[in-house]
Symmetry: C3
Subunit: 445 residues, 3 copies
């Protein structure tokens, strides 16, 4: 099966439901940037795709950073005088400040309040807060819960550990025809948050499952990593591999029903940027494109100046722009199966464009070749509306001078890449077109 | 006489009437891509301009194409049972499918209908259809004629021949001061169609007549050719001349009263593109500019990748965008003398711009020269509104560093090329400016 | 004190009042392009800044021009039959056509009228007219004065002299850390005109006073010159210094309350152009930017093709665009202290940008450095709105690859230069950033 066949055969509905089901399994796990929750998540993914778990010891220097101690948590609560859990980690893992150090004692209400985080504007939502690099303990509670804390003293318990261990990440490498790589990266370090974190994980998994079934020109590398420290760790341990990365996408917030957003790489007009924008432009749906900004997900690291990789970020509603972001409302209701399916379809279309984006030479470059005698042209002249495929053939022939890729031609003609690619395939079949690399290599013989 | 004098002395009204009269003579001839109709058309033009007829034998290989057999037609009709011509080539030559093979027999109405072309949306118009490269016979009829065909059988006769012969085209070369050429090309292969075909023919003829009267810097080559196969044939037989073509225009659909349209060359920003757009911008009339598109007239061939010539296309309403296109309604009523006159004026203005677009060196490049002492500046200072010509002189002096052409200066200043050129001429006269080529050549001595 | 401290400490109100007071002193002096009025003006400025007066003899050839004879005037009037001065130079020095040759005789009203200039559309305003390069005499009068001239004969007297002497200009050079220069130029050749002429003079003086108090990277050259002939003379006598001029500003019409206008240099996107536009963009005020045009003030000469210096022009309402321009209404009422203060602040901001606009190398270019451990980042993660300074640090780190200046980074990020510069200073302090010149020079050791 070719990527083009994969693309046209993709069933978004079925794929969307599968990805949603996977998300539902992953949702309850309490993840963090290290620890058993991350491992459990990867173990679950291993049932779908043959990824490899990497463990990097605490204390490992990764560029300017150090792999932190490993965090694990078993239980946490705030109990009132009657011994009732008024805040309970077992009910929602967002209740604990992520990376909280252990604590177990009675505290006055006044002291407790200094360790509580809440969202006054959404009284029923629990905020998501972390403290990876400063030791402290804390709870995240709804505003209603906070209002009900009226007793003078409470018992607090966080049964966590912060100890030497490892940072864990998952990696899947699908070798292709060439060692040139496409990088697909997503963060998997957030606890029960769906759009921010799990949506990227399940769409990346869905894409990997599909690509594993076909032969590709590019090699594909999928990374399931803790945000920031994960990409820094991977880059630090794989500097020699970076030169092979031709294109890349960070996937995040791809499960909500909002319109698509593509954030360009630092290079701005790299092939991945043009491919993603082209796919969105021809999707028939509303979308937005943002310039690179060194604030966001792991594209920050991939696009740091010494690497400057062509890695953009595909989202639906971007981080921080939906009210449920980093709250308990980013749950299984916010994310929808059909949105996941559509996101996967967009990813497949972008990959198909990259795979098929070749540069050709017109083998009859002096005037137009006679399409009619090859059955490539309408038989009766004088009809006003030429067919789109004929136009596409004329565009491909006109611009295939060895300097314009099919994407260049699609952009200049205003036609979709798929139409241009179909036209090019017909012309190749009729020996009117040849890949510039083959022309060059045969000329060299 | 200089081109500038020619331009300012051009009488559009007289020229328009002359071109219209020529069109009226050419209108009845049944032209095709080969044959005696084409020859008769050229013979008529020869009374206006000293063009040369070229004959290329059937079967000649021209790049990917082959010169077809020559087509000629004497008569054609459909007769009813009473022997009446219900469709008659003698009444309108569009009634025959152009390049129809001969036929002479009785056919059932059912069979006949498979050979009829009509335009249901314009019941009184005859469509124009061709079948150059597939042997068939057919008639083009109005929808009303079709409705009246009710008899079970008709006699059809097409007294045509499709035999080895020649492809004919006309060429006029006006040598100039330099061998660098401007190519003016028009198709002359359509039967009784005015805007599409004859308007370009008569405006090109008008332009040639005018340019033949003056001394030009550039050499001018006029081609009167059958569409597509004609330009392919010319290019195939004149590959060594292509390198001399600096600028070119295809003229087509320049006789209707619609606004001007200029379609850029494949290069997009070649001097001809900028010249044509500038002339239209400063014409005071509405106009439109389109990017290159490999669909249209013979610019398709001139702009094929191996040639990539700087050839654009000047039209009023472009092909396919007026309802009368390729129908019997594209007749002497659609085209107007004043529209032809204005089109000729635009062509002359474009040619004048190309002829006068030189690059100069300011001979006093350090600060402004003192214009006042040369009588080039107003005598009393302090008047708020400087004259446009003074501004033009300052622009020319400021940008004439040997790197900016007068067109560059006109574009950057927003002034018209004519104003800039007049200012430059005054500065040359006062020895403040010198053609960069003269500066370079005298420096080389 | 650094330029940054100077900028933040500038008291616009106090400065505005000081500049306005200086203008009030200079206002009554009858200046011209040569003569004692110009010298008296410079003598006054010397009490503020240590400028040097240069004298260039009449007849000196300066490129295409010649230094004219020196003009001085003591008195002038038109007397009626009763011996009353109906037009009196002592009341307003605009009453005399600037550079009038002496005259003293009785003339008929008819003859007199050929020597009178008036402004019918503003009956109470005296126009400003000059005749530097054509010998004539004349008076400028209000339309009301003209209407009252009803006697058949008048006595006219212009007690002026036009004799070999000198052209005078003032120059102040403030040496900086490098010989690279910033040129600040203003014309000081107009008689009692405030916005056009004196506003530039007092703002340039204010800027010079301020810059004289601090150590700068660039050297600064201030020119107080007669318009056109002054810049031509300076350039002619200082050709070897021109190569040191990196950036420049002509200051004119900077005292009225209109919005700021910046006119780009001929180069168009030089650093001074980008700096001026950036400062205006982030001023929070309405402003306009115009492309270069070879019509205006002395930027015409600095931007002539052989010099092509990066010199723009900063104005509030540009010359010719306010009704009072070149009339007696361009007086101490049109110009306002706060407008002068704001203009000075803009100049200081532009200079501060140029001084601080360095290019850095990120010393931790592989991924982001860990800002948190250096106290440069918020302690609690997950807060939605990152601080502007954090964003600025991320932008500086991301783009500081030795190829992007801080202005490049400010432009691309949309943040103000000041915020970007503050972020860069913090990163330099934490040894995360180093000036690219230092990196290069230490690499060379």
């Amino acid at each position: 099966m070719t990527i083009t066949e994969l693309q046209s055969g993709l069933d978004r509905e079925v794929s969307g439901r599968e990805m949603y089901a996977l998300m539902a399994e992953l949702y309850p796990i309490c993840r963090s940037i290290t620890g058993n929750g991350f491992r459990a998540t990867l173990a679950n993914l291993e049932r779908q795709i043959p990824l490899i778990q990497h463990e990097v010891p605490t204390g490992t220097q990764v560029f300017d950073w150090t792999v932190p101690r490993e965090w694990n948590i078993r239980d946490a609560y705030i109990k009132n005088a009657r011994g009732e859990r008024v805040v309970d980690f077992q009910r929602h893992n967002l209740h604990v400040l992520n990376y909280s150090v252990p604590v177990s004692r009675r505290v006055s209400l006044e002291e407790l309040k200094q360790h509580l985080f809440t969202l006054p504007e959404h009284p029923d939502w629990i905020p998501y807060r972390t403290s990876y690099y400063r030791e402290q303990w804390g709870f995240c509670v709804t505003a209603r819960q906070l209002a009900q804390l009226t007793e003078p003293e409470y018992e607090v318990c966080i049964d966590s550990s912060l100890e030497p261990g490892h940072l864990t990440y998952g990696e899947l490498y699908l070798p292709g025809e060439t060692p040139d790589e496409v990088l697909i990266s997503c963060h998997a370090c957030h606890p029960s948050l769906c759009n921010d974190n799990l949506s990227g994980v399940v769409v990346a998994t869905g894409l990997a499952k599909n690509l594993a079934r076909i032969a590709c020109r590019y090699s594909y590398r999928f990374l399931f990593i803790p945000g920031t420290i994960g990409s820094i760790t991977w880059l630090s341990r794989n500097e020699e591999k970076v030169a092979s990365i031709r294109h890349g996408l960070v996937l995040a917030c791809v499960g909500d029903p909002g319109k698509f957003h593509y954030k360009r790489s630092r290079q701005g007009m790299a092939e991945i940027d043009r491919a993603a924008v082209h796919v969105l432009q021809h999707s028939g749906l509303e979308f937005a494109v943002a310039d690179f900004d060194p604030y966001g997900y792991d594209e920050r690291q991939y696009c740091s100046p010494a690497f400057d990789l062509a890695v953009g970020c595909l989202s639906r509603t971007p981080h921080g722009q939906f009210p449920e972001y980093h709250t308990s409302a980013d749950n299984l209701e916010l994310v929808r199966p059909d949105a996941l399916g559509e996101s996967l379809a967009r990813c497949v279309a972008i990959v198909a464009l990259l795979e098929n984006n070749r540069t050709y030479c017109n083998l009859q470059p002096r005037c137009e070749p006679q399409l009619g005698k090859r059955g490539l042209y309408r038989a009766i002249g004088g009809v006003q509306d030429a067919q789109q495929t004929e136009k596409a053939m004329l565009w491909v022939l006109n611009l295939s001078d060895g300097k314009h890729s099919l994407l260049d031609i699609a952009e200049r003609s205003g036609l979709s890449f798929d139409v241009i690619h179909t036209a090019a395939a017909a012309l190749v079949e009729h020996e009117l077109l040849k890949d510039v690399l083959e022309v060059t290599s045969s000329a060299g013989r």
